[in-house]
């Protein structure tokens, strides 16, 4: 993903739902835009603001955070923590001069390969329009 002419999207996927959803998309041979790289965590609630800002700092154009549907979290309520955190992050991003649309939160279950495909394609299309980050994010 070195080339700066193509979109760079990092997808943080939880082990139980979204990572399995990404696998399901592949298993069903659903074709997707390829400009994303998946990082697996056990739960979406592991993904903190620092990690997302770090990704922007290292050149990501957009970040997808995907977890289990509300009520389905393998760890009781981790996805609600993620939801609150992403809302907070979006307001923070504007003040850093980063478009909040560059971060997207989605609930994708293990059997929603179709939804994974749709989300990825839509998101990469939007990110392509936004292009690379306009200003450098300096780490605090």
């Amino acid at each position: 993903m070195k080339d700066n002419n193509e979109p760079k999207v990092i997808a943080f996927c939880c082990n139980w739902c979204s990572y399995a959803g990404a696998d399901a998309a592949g298993t069903s041979r659903l074709q997707m835009k390829p400009h994303f790289r998946i990082i697996r965590s056990m739960c979406s609630s592991r993904i903190d603001l620092e990690l997302i800002l770090e990704a922007f700092d290292r050149g990501a154009w957009g970040i997808l955070v995907a977890g289990c549907h509300p009520g389905d979290c393998h760890y009781v309520d981790g996805n609600y923590k993620t939801l609150r955190r992403i809302i907070l992050l979006k307001s923070l991003l504007s003040s850093l001069g980063i478009e909040p649309e560059r971060v997207r939160l989605e609930w994708i279950s293990a059997n929603e390969g179709g939804k994974f495909q749709k989300v990825v394609n839509e998101f990469i299309n939007e990110i392509e329009k936004l292009g690379p980050l306009k200003k450098e994010v300096s780490k605090q």
Partner: protein, 650 residues
């Protein structure tokens, strides 16, 4: 550090899209990589043997397998590297099949480039992997079974017979659950009480089962191998060891109230035997309706009790005990038809529920008929099931067959009866069900496809008129019946909903308890050591309930029998130097695995690694970076980010 990288062709699944040679060449250029190999099928025995030999021969200390998803073969390769003497947690999989060759099938050039990135990410993570070891924790042989319907009874008996100590807790004064109320069972038409009562009698006879009736769970805390249970035994006011069930007390009791066992169709006294086959076979005093308790004013029962079994001074008793595993068998309740406008007259004289009819038929068989049942009888199916308007989308699974059974019992008692069953779909899915349904048709029961739209009871004659469209012939039927029976569906019982909160179990749509995996872990829950069976998990008939109960017992035995269980080491831990003891981590932990302790005058967080399930929420919440999760360390995630975004990492 020596890393070995293996690139799998997956018999063409990967190699037809991704250029394996270029990926291998790329891997060779990565730091610390000393060996790169390819194989047509990495998961095959021969390839795994090669992997074991390579690890030993080349002294590899990390392994990257570029192949399928870790969810597909992760366990396979973890086992293989373990065989070679390495920790299973120094193996990383680069998912270049599900997440590369398959979804980017028509872009082989990009797919190859992406495969390289994915391999580089796996190498970056492997580089920082620590050789974690699986830990074990001791476990005893004590089980709590909640609910003593047929599910709880079966699970308790299986466990007791296998030599495990069982606490069987039932909130009602007798065990037996809903099955005690049934007339006969489909499709074999066994008498329900006759097949259930020997099983009920086996419970107090089993030396390993401690039966706690009239008892409710107050709280449960702890974790697998160490669940602390607090239960409250409500006063029964009758000593079960002295009561001979002679009925003298009930004869003199002046209080008459509706009898729950007969769905309120008959009456009982304030002191009563819960049902004819009750276990324990002892009377119980209903303190909400007894005249004499507060203050003691009546005492008629006390005066006639020869064995002196009655004790008005009993108080609620708090019980504390510790168990290793828990089986939830809290069952269902029937849908209240009055919740739906069409059935607003339900429970009027001639519009009754199927459970009411079960009782009427049972009582008639016992020779105490409460009322004539009539000549023209209609069953309405799917009352409260498959009905989004009442919020129940699910099929209750048993109503088609119990209506068929009741129709047969009605026909047998009086072959001249006209019996109609109005259904949406007739579901005869089980063993012997279709044959039973066909037999019912041959006896003259009329099965008509159509959802009943209107229902009116004539206030003068008490006959019920029913309006329905036969959706097979398109005829509108308007007909008068002596009795309309609502085939009510099932709902999770209040006890099921309460225990879900107590044990933090996940509920599926409809409120039923959610199994850990619908196919492969059907009686497990995501709470370690907690199992579910019977209708608490979802509507089902008696054979399925019994099968599930035995399955839950077997799964519990599987955990306890070894005397110790494995703990996944990918838990959180604390860097006490960095920790400020703020306690934010403890607040976000869904399992109460984190406590704040005083250590040499400093407040620090402590993770109970047996309880921790490894979600990492505390790591994300920690403001000082003191909290970390093994195998998902922050530096590892950062290294993967760098690798993904094309920065060189050494």
């Amino acid at each position: 550090m020596k890393i070995g990288v293996y690139v799998c062709h997956c018999g063409g699944n990967i190699s037809e899209v991704v250029d394996i040679k270029r990926v291998m060449k790329f891997a060779e250029q990565q730091g610390d990589v000393v060996l790169v190999k390819e194989h047509a099928h990495m998961c095959s025995d021969v390839a795994r043997k090669m992997l074991v030999d390579d690890i030993k021969e080349h002294n590899l200390d990390k392994v990257v397998i570029a192949a399928c998803s870790p969810q597909f073969h992760g366990r396979t390769f973890m086992g293989t590297v373990e065989k070679a003497g390495l920790s299973p947690y120094v193996m990383e999989m680069a998912n270049i099949r599900e997440q590369c060759s398959w979804p980017h099938y028509y872009e082989p050039e990009y797919a190859t480039k992406k495969a390289k990135d994915i391999v580089r990410m796996a190498i970056a993570k492997a580089r920082l992997d620590e050789p974690l070891e699986k830990k074990t924790s001791p476990i005893g042989k004590r089980v709590l079974v909640i609910g003593a319907g047929i599910a709880g009874i079966q699970a308790a008996l299986d466990l007791g017979d296998a030599g495990f100590k069982v606490y069987l807790v039932e909130k009602e004064p007798s065990i037996g659950g809903k099955m005690v109320k049934l007339s006969r069972t489909f499709p074999t038409e066994d008498c329900a009480a006759c097949i259930l009562s020997p099983k009920m009698a086996d419970v107090p006879a089993n030396p390993n089962i401690e039966l706690l009736t009239n008892t409710e769970i107050e709280s449960i805390s702890g974790f697998l191998g160490n669940y602390d249970v607090v239960a409250v035994k409500k006063p029964r006011y009758v000593d079960t060891s002295k009561c001979t069930a002679c009925d003298k007390c009930a004869e003199v009791c002046p209080v008459v109230v509706p009898n729950e066992h007969d769905e309120g169709l008959s009456s009982r006294k304030a002191i009563y035997l819960p049902n004819p086959i009750a276990v324990p076979h002892s009377y119980v005093l209903d303190d909400k309706t007894c005249l004499g308790l507060f203050p003691l004013a009546c005492s008629k029962c006390y005066d006639v009790c020869d064995p002196g079994a009655i004790n008005y001074d009993q108080k609620p008793e708090r019980l504390n005990f510790t168990v290793d595993t828990i089986i939830v068998a809290t069952g269902y309740e029937i849908f209240d038809p009055r919740k739906k406008k069409v059935y607003e007259f339900a429970r009027s004289k001639n519009i009754i529920t199927a459970l009411d009819l079960e009782r009427l038929i049972s009582l008639e068989a016992e020779g105490t008929s409460l009322r004539p049942i009539g000549k023209r009888i209609a069953f309405i199916q799917c009352v409260g099931s498959r009905d989004e308007l009442v919020g129940n989308e699910y099929c209750s699974r048993i109503c088609c067959m119990y209506a068929t059974k009741l129709s047969q019992l009605l026909k047998r008692a009086d072959p001249k009866r006209d019996v109609y069953v109005f259904y949406i779909d007739l579901r005869a899915y089980g063993k012997g069900f279709e044959e039973y349904y066909k037999r019912a048709q041959r006896t003259g029961v009329k099965f008509i496809r159509g959802r009943v739209a209107e229902l009116h009871e004539d206030k003068r004659t008490n006959k019920v008129t029913l309006k329905v469209e036969d959706t097979l012939t398109r005829d509108i039927i308007e007909s008068e019946f002596d009795l309309v029976v609502l085939s009510v569906g099932l709902r999770p019982s209040p006890g099921t909903l309460k225990i879900a909160d107590t044990l933090r179990l996940i509920k599926s749509p409809g409120g039923w308890l959610q199994e850990a995996h619908p196919k492969f872990r059907p009686v497990d829950t995501l709470a370690d050591g907690v199992f579910i069976c019977g209708c608490a998990q979802g509507p089902k008939d008696i054979p399925d309930t019994v099968a599930q109960a035995s399955a839950a017992a077997a799964r519990a035995i599987r955990l306890m029998n070894k005397g110790e269980f494995e703990v996944d080491p990918i838990t959180a831990f604390v860097d006490e130097e960095l920790c400020s003891g703020c306690g934010i981590c403890a607040g976000v932990c869904p399992y109460d695995a984190i406590t704040i302790e005083l250590k040499q005058g400093k407040r620090v967080s402590r993770v109970n690694e047996v309880v921790c399930q490894g979600c990492g929420a505390c790591v994300a919440a920690c403001p000082s970076g003191a909290q970390q999760q093994r195998w998902f360390m922050t530096p590892q995630l950062h290294a993967m980010l760098s690798a993904a975004l094309g920065e060189e990492v050494s």
